[in-house]
C-alpha cells in the first residue's frame, strides 16, 4: 500500500518544535500550504520547468509570499536591499488595517499564475479553481473595503517581485531551454549530446550561469577548482573516476538503486530536484504546524538557496563543459555500458543535484538546527517509499551520491558540487529575515 504524503507526515514524531506554534484556534487558513501543494504539481506539468527554471520560480514565489507576510509582521525584515536588485516593496497604509490571509493569498495567486502561466490546461484550470475558491472563502463575511485593500496590497507585492524578475536573465525560456543550434567544442574532454532526443542535441540553458543571483554576488562567487584533467590513460585520475562510475553501476546494490531512483527527480515526472527540497521543507513545516509567516520565511530561503545553487552550478558547468560518463565509458572502457539513470542533457561538472542539495541543506540546517531528523515522503504518490535521514546534510550527501549510483556523474562533480552548495547556501543563510 502506498502512503500518501499526508499520511507520511503523520509519522513525524519527536521532531524538534520551533518556538512559535499557533494553537488550532489561532491557525490561519492554510493559504501557503495549498498553493505550494499546487505548484509542486505544476512544476512537473510545465514543460519549460527544467530544474534551473523550476528553482527560479520557487525563489520568486517564496520571496513573494515572504514579502506579503513581512509587510504585516513587524518581527520580519524585508529582503529588499538584501537580494540583488530587489527594491523596497509597496508599502501599506499604516492608518489602515489589512487581512493578512487575503494579502498572502492575493500575492500567491498573482505570483503562481504568472510564474506558472505556461502550464497545461489542467494546471490552468486548477490554478483558477484554487484562486476562485480561496478568494471566496477568505472574503466571506468580511468588509468589502478591507477585502479590496488587502487583495490590492497582495497583488502589488507580487507585481513588484514579478517586475524585478524580468531583468534577471531567466525570464524568457524558448524551446524548453534548448538552443535551436549548438556546435560542441572540438576535443574529447568536452560535452557531446548523450541522447537520441532531437531537442537535446544542444545542451540545456548554456547561459543560465550568467543570470542575476539572489543572495550571492554572482554566479562565479563560489567558483570551483577544475575537475581532474581529462585523460584516457588507465593510470590517470580521470580514468579512475570513470572506472568508479562504471564499476558502481555494474555492481549496483538494491539499496543504491533505490537511492538513485529516490533522488532521480526527473523533470516533468517529479517536482524536480529543487522541488524535492521545497517538498521536504513543506512536509516539516506542516508536521510542525508552523504559522504562515514562518512557512513563508523558510520557503523563501529554500527557494533562494536552490536558485542560486543552479546559477552557480551552471556557471561552472559551461566553464568546464566536461564530457559525461556515458560518453567517456562507451568510448574508452566499454561500448555496451549503460547508466542506470537517464543522463541529463548538459555538461557534467559539477553535479547540479549536489550543488543545490548542498545549498538547501546549509539553509535548512541553519533554520532547523543540526541533527534535525526527518522523513522524506516526496515521492510516495509515485510509489517510491519515504526515506529517513538523521539530518539535512545526510540527505544532501545521499542525493549527491545517487548520481554516482545512477551512472551520470563522477565523484569529483559530486563532492565538489556539495561544497559549492555549502558555500552558496551560506549566502542565503546570512539573509536577515527577522528583526534583530
Amino acid at each position: 500500500m502506498h502512503l500518501t504524503r499526508r499520511a507520511a507526515l503523520a509519522l513525524f514524531a519527536g521532531l524538534p518544535a520551533l518556538p512559535t506554534v499557533l494553537s488550532a484556534q489561532e491557525a490561519p487558513p492554510p493559504v501557503l500550504r495549498d498553493w505550494y501543494r499546487l505548484i509542486l504539481e505544476l512544476v512537473r506539468h510545465t514543460a519549460t520547468y527544467s530544474p534551473p527554471v523550476a528553482s527560479r520560480a520557487f525563489a520568486y514565489v517564496g520571496v513573494t509570499a515572504f514579502e506579503a507576510v513581512a509587510g504585516g509582521d513587524p518581527s520580519l525584515n524585508s529582503l529588499a536591499g538584501q537580494l540583488n536588485g530587489l527594491t523596497p516593496l509597496p508599502a501599506r497604509d499604516p492608518a489602515l488595517s489589512y487581512d493578512e490571509a487575503l494579502v498572502l493569498n492575493a500575492a500567491l495567486e498573482q505570483a503562481v499564475t504568472s510564474f506558472f502561466g505556461n502550464t497545461g490546461p489542467s494546471g490552468q484550470q486548477a490554478m483558477k479553481r484554487m484562486a476562485d475558491r480561496k478568494r471566496q472563502r477568505l472574503s466571506d463575511g468580511k468588509d468589502a473595503d478591507l477585502v479590496a485593500r488587502s487583495v490590492a496590497q497582495g497583488k502589488a507585492v507580487a507585481d513588484h517581485i514579478l517586475a524585478w524578475s524580468q531583468s534577471d536573465g531567466g525570464a524568457v525560456i524558448e524551446n524548453m531551454g534548448f538552443p535551436y543550434e549548438y556546435t560542441p567544442k572540438p576535443g574529447p574532454q568536452y560535452w557531446v549530446p548523450t541522447s537520441a532526443i532531437r531537442q537535446q542535441q544542444a545542451p540545456l540553458l548554456p547561459n543560465w550561469g550568467n543570470n542575476r543571483t539572489f543572495a550571492m554576488p554572482n554566479g562565479a562567487t563560489c567558483a570551483l577548482t577544475a575537475p581532474p584533467e581529462y585523460s584516457e590513460d588507465p593510470g590517470s585520475d580521470f580514468y579512475a573516476e570513470a572506472m568508479e562510475v562504471y564499476e558502481t553501476v555494474k555492481s549496483v546494490t538494491p539499496e543504491q538503486k533505490a537511492i538513485a531512483r529516490f533522488w532521480s527527480d526527473d523533470p516533468m515526472l517529479s517536482p524536480t530536484p529543487p522541488g524535492h527540497w521545497v517538498s521536504i521543507a513543506c512536509q516539516i513545516l506542516e508536521a510542525q504546524g508552523q504559522p504562515e509567516s514562518r512557512c513563508a520565511e523558510v520557503l523563501a530561503l529554500v527557494g533562494i538557496s536552490v536558485a542560486d545553487g543552479f546559477i552557480g552550478c551552471w556557471q561552472a558547468k559551461y566553464e568546464y563543459d566536461l564530457v559525461r560518463p556515458v560518453t567517456y565509458i562507451k568510448r574508452v572502457i566499454d561500448p555496451n555500458w549503460e547508466p542506470l539513470l537517464i543522463t541529463p542533457p548538459f555538461p557534467e561538472y559539477p553535479s547540479g543535484h549536489s550543488t543545490q542539495s548542498g545549498a538547501a541543506a546549509e539553509v535548512l540546517t541553519a533554520v532547523f538546527g543540526p541533527g534535525f531528523a526527518f522523513s522524506d515522503a516526496t515521492h510516495v504518490d509515485d510509489g517510491i517509499p519515504a526515506r529517513d535521514f538523521p539530518d539535512f546534510w545526510a540527505a544532501a550527501d545521499e542525493a549527491a551520491m545517487s548520481r554516482l549510483y545512477g551512472g551520470i556523474h563522477y565523484r569529483a562533480a559530486i563532492e565538489r558540487g556539495l561544497e559549492q552548495g555549502r558555500c552558496i547556501g551560506a549566502y542565503t543563510a546570512a539573509l536577515k529575515t527577522r528583526v534583530a
Binding site: N118, G120, P121, S122, N175, R198, I384
Partner: protein
C-alpha cells in the same frame, strides 16, 4: 490504425533516385460536404477521432466523426471513382454526444461492420444493420459501457474464440477536476462469456496510467496477441508505457523489467505500427509532445526490449517545419501507409496544441514523412499540401475515391475536420487486399498479409486499434511501385500460411483460405 510493411530487399527505382515521389493532395473540405467540428471543454482536450468503413456496400468508405460535446455524425461517401470527394450527412443511429472516437469492427461476424464508439460517459457498441443503419447493442451483446473518460480501444479474436476480446482505455477521473494528477482510471479487458456469443464482465487492467492509445499486436510473432498501451505521463504517477501479455484463458499480465520491458515515460498519444526494417517484427511509432519515438525490437523475440530510432530515421517530428512557429510540437494520430505507392511505408502524424499551452506550438503542421530508399524519412507535408495549422487530433489515411491513391481526413479541435484528395499524379501501382475468413473473425484480424512485388516484400499486421481514437476497416493497401502484378499471401490468425498467389495491380482482391484471389466487385 493499421500495421504495415517492410522492404526486405530494396530495389532502387530510377524514378526515386532523387528521393521519394511527393504525392499531391488537394484540400476539398469546403466542397466535400464533410462538416464536423470536435469541440468541448476540458473533458474533450483529448480525443477527436474518425472511423472509416464501408457501410453502404459500394466499396467507398463512409466516415464517422466524433463531435465531443456536439453530436457525432456519419457521412455517406458519394465520391465518384477517382473524382472529387463528396459526402452526405446521414441519420444512421450513431449521432451521440460525448463521443471521443470510434473503431469499426464486425463484432458478431455477420459480415456487416459494427462500430465501437468511445465516449466521455458510456461507451456504445453499435450493431450494423446494413445500409448504414445502426442500433445500440450493449445489452444484446452483454457490454457494460462504463462511465469514464474513454480514450483508447483495441480488439482481437483470441485463439479459438468466436467472439472478440476488447480492450478499453480510460483517461483521468473526471470528478477530480481541481487536482487531476495521479487520478488515472482503470483500463478494461473485455473477453467473451465462455460458451456464449456475448461479452463477460470486464477484467481490470490495473494500474491504469491514462491511456490514449491501445493496440493488440503480435510483437514477437509468437502467434499470441499482446496489448500495447501508450500513456500520457502528464497525469500518471509512478506510471510508464505498458505491454500486457494476453494469453487465452489466463488473466492479462504486465511485462516487467525482469522480462526485458524497459521503463519509458512519454506523453503517449497515439500508436502506429509497421515492419519497417524487414525483420518481420513490427516497429512502433509513438506520438508525444516534442520528440516522438520509433521503437525497434532490440534483443530478438525473446524479450520486449526496444531501442528508439526516431532520431536516426528522421521521424522525431519534434517541432513545426513550416509556418514559423518554432515551439515544440504535439503529436496525436499516427498511421503508416504508402501514400506514394513506392512499396515503402510512409508516416502521417496529426498535430495540434492540447489547449492553449504556451510552451508548445500553436500553429503545428501535420507531418507527412515519406520513407526513402535507405529507410530514413523526409518531411513532405508542406510540399504535399497537407500541412494544416489547425489543431489536429484523430485522422485516417484511406482511399476515399477508389483510385488507389490514399486520401486523408483529419479531425480538428474547435475547427472543422479537413479532407484532402490525393490526386495520384506520378504515383506507382497499387493493390488493396480484403481477407475474408469463415467463422466469427470474418476480417481476419490478427492475420498478416505479405506482398511481393519484384524483389520487394512488404507485410502488414491486420489490427483493430491504435492511432488516436481513430480506426478503419477497409481493404489493406499496398504500393507496388512500377510493378503491374504482385504475389500475395496471408498468414491467417490460426497460423496457417496461405500460398503465394498472383494478383494484378490497381485493383482490390478478396483473399480467402483455400481459394484463389477474387476481384472485389462491391
Amino acid at each position: 490504425m493499421r500495421g504495415i510493411f517492410a522492404a526486405v530487399a530494396l530495389a532502387a527505382s530510377p524514378a526515386l533516385a532523387d528521393g521519394p515521389v511527393v504525392p499531391r493532395f488537394i484540400e476539398e473540405t469546403a466542397s466535400s460536404g464533410l462538416e464536423s467540428v470536435y469541440e468541448g471543454e476540458w473533458e474533450y482536450m483529448v480525443g477527436g477521432g474518425v472511423a472509416a468503413f464501408d457501410c453502404s456496400g459500394d466499396g467507398l468508405p463512409e466516415l464517422f466523426t466524433a463531435g465531443g460535446a456536439s453530436k457525432a455524425a456519419l457521412f455517406l461517401n458519394r465520391s465518384e471513382k477517382g473524382g472529387a470527394l463528396r459526402f452526405e450527412k446521414a441519420e444512421a443511429g450513431v449521432e451521440t454526444e460525448g463521443a471521443t472516437g470510434a473503431y469499426p469492427l464486425d463484432v458478431d461476424g455477420d459480415g456487416i461492420t459494427d462500430l465501437a464508439i468511445l465516449r466521455v460517459g458510456e461507451n456504445l457498441l453499435m450493431r450494423g444493420l446494413g445500409d448504414c443503419r445502426f442500433e445500440r447493442a450493449n445489452e444484446a451483446w452483454g457490454l457494460y459501457g462504463g462511465d469514464a473518460w474513454h480514450t483508447a480501444f483495441s480488439a482481437t479474436w483470441e485463439k479459438g474464440a468466436d467472439w472478440p476480446t476488447l480492450a478499453v482505455g480510460t483517461y483521468i477521473d473526471r470528478t477530480q477536476e481541481d487536482f487531476p494528477w495521479g487520478n488515472c482510471t482503470t483500463n478494461w479487458l473485455i473477453r467473451p462469456e465462455p460458451g456464449e456469443r456475448r461479452f463477460a464482465a470486464g477484467e481490470a487492467l490495473e494500474p491504469g496510467f491514462c491511456a490514449l492509445s491501445m493496440l493488440f499486436t503480435d510483437w514477437n510473432r509468437s502467434g499470441a496477441q499482446a496489448l500495447r498501451v501508450t500513456n500520457d505521463r502528464e497525469y500518471y504517477k509512478g506510471g510508464q508505457e505498458q505491454l500486457w501479455q494476453v494469453l487465452p484463458g489466463a488473466p492479462a499480465k504486465l511485462f516487467t523489467e525482469a522480462d526485458g520491458w524497459a521503463r519509458l515515460r512519454v506523453w503517449g498519444m497515439g500508436i502506429a505500427s509497421a515492419d519497417l526494417d524487414g525483420d518481420t517484427y513490427p516497429e512502433y511509432f509513438l506520438t508525444s509532445m516534442a520528440d516522438s519515438k520509433l521503437q525497434v525490437l532490440k534483443a530478438g523475440p525473446g524479450k520486449p526490449t526496444y531501442a528508439d530510432v526516431a532520431f536516426k530515421r528522421g521521424v522525431t517530428a519534434h517541432r513545426p517545419y513550416t509556418g514559423g512557429d518554432l515551439r515544440p510540437s504535439t503529436g496525436w494520430h499516427a498511421q503508416f501507409e504508402d501514400v506514394n505507392n513506392d512499396c515503402r511505408a510512409d508516416l502521417f502524424v496529426a498535430k495540434g496544441n492540447v489547449w492553449e499551452m504556451p510552451d508548445f506550438a500553436a500553429e503545428d503542421p501535420n507531418n507527412l514523412l515519406l520513407q526513402r530508399e535507405d529507410g530514413s524519412f523526409e518531411e513532405a507535408g508542406d510540399r504535399a499540401g497537407v500541412a494544416s495549422l489547425l489543431t489536429g487530433r484523430g485522422g485516417a489515411v484511406v482511399d476515399l475515391n477508389a483510385d488507389g491513391a490514399l486520401d486523408l481526413v483529419v479531425v480538428n479541435r474547435f475547427a472543422p475536420a479537413q479532407v484532402w484528395r490525393n490526386t495520384g499524379e506520378g504515383l506507382g501501382h497499387w493493390v488493396a487486399l480484403k481477407p475474408v475468413m469463415p467463422g466469427a473473425n470474418r476480417d481476419a484480424i490478427g492475420a498478416w498479409i505479405e506482398v511481393r512485388a519484384g524483389e520487394m516484400v512488404t507485410r502488414r499486421e491486420l489490427t483493430v486499434g491504435g492511432g488516436h481514437v481513430s480506426g478503419q476497416l477497409v481493404p489493406w493497401h499496398f504500393g507496388l511501385a512500377g510493378h503491374e502484378e504482385a504475389e500475395v499471401r496471408v498468414l491467417w490468425p490460426d497460423g496457417t500460411e496461405g500460398p503465394w498467389q498472383k494478383v494484378a495491380a490497381d485493383g482490390v482482391w478478396v483473399l480467402s483460405p483455400g481459394a484463389e484471389p477474387v476481384a472485389w466487385r462491391p
